[in-house]
């Protein structure tokens, strides 16, 4: 081997190392930027909403009085902040609407998602599986406004005219199912449309996980005399419990922040808590959209700042949900390890 080729291979190696280093710093920079954007958004929201936080205090979370005040009056000073006379901001009804509609969505979506994932991974003849899972994944790709429009045109008249009066008549004795059946816009309709949007998320994730479980698990269970269903229910499903939790959390995040579809079917209630599942509600995300134009007419700007405070609360709730999920996953991980 000549010395010339040695030098050139050294140079080549150095070039590869430096390329790796620059690639590393590039990816590190991208990762930092992503984190920085998140921090900056929260920081911006907090700073922008700060005058509203000072004005509204804790009542913001505990009262039902979103009131822009007298839009045609002259601004007054309250607690050092310039606001319109009579302006008050309390969003308990928004927090309740957001959490309740998400809870209804999960109550419907999780059982359906698990059942359909089980069927898609075990019940469908193997040649058809890729097609059916492709179809399920397509459902997840439909823009939410399409669900909203469909909910508006199809679901609301159907639920409002046929289903709700029927349920009130026969199941009205159950708490929150009785009382006036309303017009179709409201808590249950919002939760139902949300559940349709998140079922594909749960199904697709869970189906992939079930299919990827080692053959031995299934074979072992069957060797012990389990039927196909028993193998699935007692062995495979517990093995993907963590995946189910993870998928449910992703779905919760989507339901909490969903805007357009909810705006179109929720009835946009203002300042009262739902008395039953047919009552109109508003959610935090849809409220921000529907009230921004009105808020922009507040010359003191406090209404927009209070909307920013709504956004801040929504962010915090999402972060708390995610953190809770991590804790849950952590403990589940330990349990699974112990079980093996």
């Amino acid at each position: 081997m000549s010395s010339a080729s040695l030098v050139s291979s050294d140079r080549l190696r150095w070039r590869r190392i430096s390329r790796a280093a620059s690639f590393r710093s590039l990816t590190a920079l991208s990762a930092c930027l992503v984190g920085l954007v998140l921090v900056l958004i929260i920081l911006f929201l907090a700073l922008y909403a700060w005058p509203a936080v000072q004005l509204n205090g804790a009542g913001f979370l505990t009262q039902n009085n979103w009131n822009l005040g007298n839009l045609y009056g002259n601004p007054v000073t309250v607690h050092g902040q310039t606001i319109l006379p009579g302006a008050q901001y309390g969003i308990l009804f928004l927090i309740a609407g957001t959490l309740l509609s998400t809870a209804i969505a999960l109550l419907i979506a999780v059982p359906f998602g698990v059942a359909s994932a089980m069927f898609l991974s075990e019940g469908v003849p193997p040649p058809m599986r890729p097609w059916i899972s492709f179809f399920v994944e397509l459902l997840a790709a439909i823009p939410s406004v399409v669900y909203g429009l469909w909910g508006y045109v199809v679901v609301i008249p159907f639920l409002g005219h046929y289903v709700f009066p029927f349920v009130v008549r026969w199941l009205g004795f159950i708490p929150f199912l009785g009382g006036p059946s309303g017009s179709g816009y409201g808590l249950f309709t919002a939760g139902f449309v949300l559940s349709l949007m998140i079922v594909p998320l749960i199904t697709a994730t869970l189906r992939d996980a079930l299919v990827e479980q080692p053959r031995e698990l299934r074979e072992g269970a069957m060797a012990l005399g389990a039927t196909r269903f028993e193998a699935l229910w007692t062995v495979l499903l517990p093995a993907v419990r963590r995946v189910l939790t993870g998928a449910t959390i992703l779905a919760t995040g989507r339901a909490l922040g969903e805007t357009m579809a909810v705006l179109m079917v929720s009835g946009n209630a203002l300042n009262y808590l739902p008395g039953n599942i047919y009552t109109p509600i508003s959610t935090m995300a849809s409220f921000i959209v529907s009230q921004l134009d009105s808020a922009l007419q507040d010359p003191t700007g406090m209404a927009v700042r209070s909307l920013a405070e709504v956004a801040l609360v929504l962010c915090l709730i999402s972060i708390v949900v995610n953190a809770l999920a991590r804790v849950l996953l952590y403990y589940q991980g330990h349990q699974v390890q112990r079980a093996f």
Binding site: N70, N74, P180, S294, L296
Partner: protein, 367 residues
């Protein structure tokens, strides 16, 4: 060999999708550019806002652009709140609104003009099976109590007292109100504020108000949303702009007679709107921001208002300013947009000559 394979896979994995995205972006860019070229040297005006004014703009724009082919006017029905805020922000050149801007808002945006283009009315509509042709009589104080949840049933004594001999149903009232920032909310709550002191001292008026929580109440977006809500819900009551009277009649909803300042019950008609306008126009100040609600006079309909164009007097280009001046001048002219054939179609009333003069003065300020 291995190297070249890798470069091919990189090519397929990254470059082709990138090229696709780039191509798409370029394509749409070219499409937009060619679209812009088509409109040529003329102006592109965006009108957005009031759903009450929207039907009139939809009659005006084709008629106007026929004789002015180089002006393109896009119309949107988004609510007066959006009209005001998008005009202030400069997103729309024409903000359509049934409400004038407040003193405090105008102080922040001194260049905004509030130019009346026509006079409109608002109906109070109801959906009472069997009674929709009977023109129920209602008053401001009773409406205020309905929208506060104090009068809950249709056969409540206060409604029955206004309608002797009418067999009112024993059914709860479903009040419908707007949830978007709305000029209709503005003029309706002004009627309640001026005629029912209790409302005027607590809830007051605005494009958005803090509606008292009433069991069974509904929120709706835009005048079309109000019509759908009242049509779909028997026993509901709603306030809807008179430009939707044809739709109201098609759906068979009731139109209420309202008690005016002098205590008489009147229907929204050209005659009663003219009577109210005759009393109120003399009070119109130079900047034309004035309420025409609850006019005195035996024949005066209590809810009439100016339909405003909210416009910035300082336009970014002389061409846009000229196009706006020309369009507005046509719109307020009795031989142009204020002609009988347009007004009749939407049940509006033409601007009286003195007000048209004030509007013309404001239009001349657009530069």
């Amino acid at each position: 060999m291995l190297h070249s394979q890798k470069s091919i896979s990189i090519l397929t994995r990254w470059l082709i999708p990138c090229a696709c995205v780039l191509g798409l972006a370029l394509g749409s860019g070219v499409a937009i550019a060619s679209n812009a070229a088509k409109t040529g040297a003329g102006a592109n005006l965006l009108e957005t806002g009031s759903s009450l004014l929207y039907p009139l703009f939809n009659l005006w724009v084709p008629a106007y652009t026929q004789s002015h082919p180089n002006v393109r006017i896009t119309t949107q029905s988004t609510g007066s709140g959006t009209g005001i805020s998008q005009a202030v922000e400069g997103i729309a050149q024409i903000g359509a609104s049934d409400a004038y801007m407040s003193d405090a808002l105008l102080k922040q945006h001194r260049d905004m003009l509030n130019i009346p283009l026509a006079i409109s009315m608002q109906m109070v509509n109801y959906n009472l099976p069997g009674l929709n042709r009977d023109h129920l009589k209602l008053s401001g104080p009773v409406l205020a109590e309905i929208y506060q949840g104090k009068v809950k049933n249709w056969n409540d004594k206060s409604i029955a007292d206004l309608n002797p001999g009418v067999k009112l149903p024993n059914h709860s009232i479903i009040p419908v109100h707007r949830t978007d920032g709305s000029g209709d909310t503005f003029i309706f709550t002004q009627y309640l504020s001026f005629s029912a002191p209790e409302w005027g001292n607590s809830i007051r008026y605005g494009t958005t108000v803090s509606w008292p929580a009433v069991s069974g109440e509904l929120g709706a977006v835009g005048n079309p949303g109000m019509i759908t809500a009242s049509k779909d819900n028997p026993y509901s009551i709603a306030y809807i702009g008179t430009s939707y009277e044809n739709a109201i009649e098609k759906d068979g909803l009731g139109i209420a007679m309202l008690r005016n300042h002098d205590g008489d019950f009147v229907l929204p008609e050209t005659k009663t709107a003219d009577a109210a306008a005759a009393v109120m126009v003399a009070k119109t100040p130079k900047d034309e921001r004035v309420s025409l609600i609850f006019a005195p006079g035996a024949d005066s309909y209590p809810i009439i208002n100016y339909e405003y164009a909210i416009v910035n007097r300082k336009q970014p280009s002389p061409a846009t300013a000229a196009a706006l001046r020309d369009f507005f001048t046509w719109a307020i002219s009795p031989s142009g947009g204020n002609a009988e054939r347009f007004m009749k179609e939407v049940n509006f009333v033409a601007l009286p000559a003195t007000v048209a003069k004030l509007s013309a003065d404001q239009i001349a300020e657009i530069q």
